[in-house]
Structure formats: structure tokens, C-alpha cells
Amino acid sequence: MADEEVKLHGMWGSLFSKRVEMALKLKGVPYQYIEEDLTNKSPDLLKYNPIHKKVPVLIHRRNPIIESHVILEYIDETWKTGYPLLPEDPYERSMARFWARFVDEKCLPSAWKAACSEGEEREKFTEEVHGHLKMLEEQLRGKRFFGGDAVGFLDICASFVAYWILVKQEAAGAEFLTESKFPALWRWGEEFKGCAVIKETLPDRARLLASLKAYLEIMKAPK
């Protein structure tokens, strides 16, 4: 039925967009994917997300849902009987939500700042990144995934740490996450990327690297 159709407006390299794809695929929800050119946004994107004009935007039953965390919760609540994204226990759910916010509010910005800076400033920001990664790593506590035995909400929200951060550090010539510094996080990352659904969703590494390098050049160029 056309009404039950799911559409996703996304961008090939966006980790926010990819989170939603991972969730839909884990749930086994078929969807139509629309690639957005963020330099030339589609009228549909602007109509559905007039406030932020960003991806991802999920359309279901002709309703737009925006903000990746909000979309993930919507997916979990709508397709309740499928693969569970969030744990059942309210306390565990609150932990997953807390650490998911931590990744977005702390890990992402500190890595960007470190990547875009040089010398002493970069050292300072890199130390911040290491601090944040250490805190996140402690949450694994010997589990296979943040979600326990299977990939869950927090694993998806932390995919930056499994993939994008590694490409970013290469693009920037920096050192954020190494196996020796963060063995548990590294191991988790490898397991996470090894899952079939995740592997097929992650953007092409060479393309992402080129794109990040180009972006960093623009950011560093004297204004």
C-alpha cells in the first residue's frame, strides 16, 4: 500500500543518514532511498524539513520524521515486533540514550575540532577525543556489543567510532583511535563492521576519505 511506503532522504557519506539505514535494515523494513545533493537540496527535503533542511528525513504514511535519534526511536516503536533496537529495561534504555547523546555531543565535535586544527591546538583537542573514547570504551564492559549479544541502538549511534573516525584520522593525518590505545573499542568496531547488515550499509572508504580530505582542505584554507 502506498500509505505504508517508507522513504528515506539521505546522503551517501552522512553517518546520521546511515544510522537510519542500519536500523531499517535490521528491522527488515523495505524502503525507497533518495540520495540528496546537499548543495542542491530537493524541494521534497525542504518541504519535509523546513527547520533544519538536513538529512536524514524518514517519510512513513506520508509523515516526515526528522533527527536521527528521533527516527531510530520511531522505527523501534513502529515496527515493534521486529529486531529490537533499544533494550527493554528502562534503566538500560536510559543508558543507551545517554551514551548515544554523548557520542553526538562530545565525540563528534572533539574529533572535528582536532581534525581541523594543527600543532598545539590539535594536541589539546586530540587529548579530549581520547578522554571521550576512554569513557565510551568503559561502557562495553566485556560485552560483544553495546547492546549486549546483538547490535542495538547505541552500537548504531556509535558507528562513528567504528568507522568514520578512522577515515577522518587518516584524512587529517591525526591519531584518534588505535588498536593499542583502545583495544576494547577497536575489537567492538571490527565486530560491528563485520555484521552483514552494517558492512553493506557503510559508505565506500576510498570515496569517504577523498571527501573528508577535500572538506578538511576547505576548512583549513585561510579565510
Binding site: N63, I65, E67, E77
Partner: protein, 233 residues
């Protein structure tokens, strides 16, 4: 039952984040102990419960701490699942409320704080931004909630009501300190009438600090910010 056990809230009387947890607990009729924290002299308990951010509010339930006000609100809703609802049942309605709560949380309050911390040109600029956000909120609420205020069943405050109230409830305090109005009923009729009806709720009235006390604190905060060399704290 999940909803049993001792509940303690570590907060501060002036924090909107602390306030929203208080309101949620009151709406749900949950009995709790309140601990006023001194943020200039953080207790060892605070640092133990929230080592990552070292902030309030912290909800402690059965000895387990939950932090971040929005995370706490969702925890409260899920743990005390019988009784007044903070979120509606329908996933799309829930998504809309979460979206607007996030918008307010991430985009609106920091602009309001900027207005309070600045003067002259900087303040005029911040004020412009605040009006932009209020306009977006006004139009957005109209579009997202055509039936009016998102109070869940029309009787108790819901999650978004609580978030709006925590930021804009003290509008009279802000306007007195600033010597200017921002909650304009002509420009933002929906948002203004919403805030004005929210502050009438008994739960809000009983948890609102005395007006003069709030004015004194916000005034102090503003003066300190204006005095600091960079112009902002």
C-alpha cells in the same frame, strides 16, 4: 513493579533542567526526596553519580543514577507507566514531541541565555535570533499540533509542555531583568497563550521559586556576564 523504590532528585532551584524533572515527577505523582546541590562546591555524591558531565539534574532510583534531563524524562515515563502519560501512544505523535523538545533544548535556550548575558549590539543580534526561533516554534507548533497544545490527554502536562514551561515559564523574570518583552502575544499568540496557561498549573505554581529571588539571581548572572572581559562568561 518497576515504579517502586526510593527516588531522589539532585538539582538546583534555578535550573530549568532540574525544574523539568521536578515537574515530571509531580505530574506522575511520584514521591521523591530533593537534594539541593551547590554547583560552586559540588558534592562528592554528585561527582560519583555523574562523573561524565558533573552536572545536575540527577535522578537516583533504587540507588541507580540517571542523568541528562531529557533521558530522565523518558526514564520516568517508561518506569512509571501507569498513571498520567508524558508522551502519547502513537509513534508519530511521539516523534513530533521529541523533535520539538530537541529543537528547544538544542537551539532556543542558548539564544535566550545569550540575550540575558549581553547588551548593546550583541544583545540586539541575540534578540533577533530569539525572535527567529520563536517564530519557527509558533509556526511549527501550529503545523505539528493543529489541535492545539500538546498536553497528552488535555489534562496533565506532557513532556513538551514540561520542556516549554522549564524554559519560558520564568518569562516575567527574564523580561523584568531585561527591561524588555520577548513573549509577544501578537507575534506569537500560540506560544504565548501556551506558556501562560502552563504557568497556571498547580504543579508549576508550587515549584516556582519566589519572583524576587529569581529576578535577583538572573540579574546577578547578567551583571557578572557583562563585567567579564570577553563580555560573556
Amino acid at each position: 513493579m518497576a515504579g517502586e523504590g526510593r527516588v531522589t532528585l539532585h538539582g538546583t532551584w534555578a535550573s530549568p533542567y532540574s525544574k523539568r524533572v521536578e515537574l515530571a515527577l509531580k505530574v506522575k505523582g511520584i514521591e521523591y526526596e530533593y537534594v539541593e546541590e551547590d554547583l560552586m562546591n559540588k558534592s562528592s555524591l554528585l561527582l560519583q553519580y555523574n562523573p561524565v558531565h558533573k552536572k545536575i539534574p540527577i535522578l537516583v532510583h533504587n540507588g541507580k543514577p540517571i542523568v541528562e534531563s531529557m533521558v530522565i524524562l523518558e526514564y520516568i515515563e517508561e518506569t512509571w507507566s501507569d498513571g498520567p502519560r508524558l508522551l502519547p501512544e502513537d509513534p508519530y505523535e511521539r516523534a513530533k514531541i521529541r523533535f520539538w523538545a530537541t529543537f528547544l533544548h538544542q537551539q532556543v535556550f542558548e539564544v535566550l541565555v545569550l540575550v540575558l548575558k549581553t547588551d548593546g549590539e550583541a544583545q540586539a543580534k541575540a534578540m533577533e535570533q530569539l525572535h527567529e526561533k520563536l517564530k519557527l516554534l509558533e509556526e511549527g507548533i501550529k503545523g505539528s499540533f493543529p489541535g492545539g497544545s500538546p498536553a497528552v490527554n488535555g489534562e496533565n502536562m506532557g513532556l513538551l509542555d514540561i520542556v516549554v514551561c522549564s524554559y519560558f515559564g520564568p518569562y516575567k523574570v527574564h523580561e523584568e531583568v531585561l527591561g524588555l518583552k520577548y513573549l509577544d502575544s501578537e507575534k506569537y499568540p500560540l506560544v504565548t497563550s501556551w506558556v501562560k496557561s502552563l504557568v497556571q498549573y498547580p504543579a508549576v505554581k508550587e515549584s516556582t521559586p519566589p519572583h524576587e529571588k529569581s529576578v535577583a539571581l538572573v540579574r546577578y548572572f547578567r551583571e557578572k556576564a557583562l563585567q567579564s572581559p570577553a563580555g560573556v562568561l
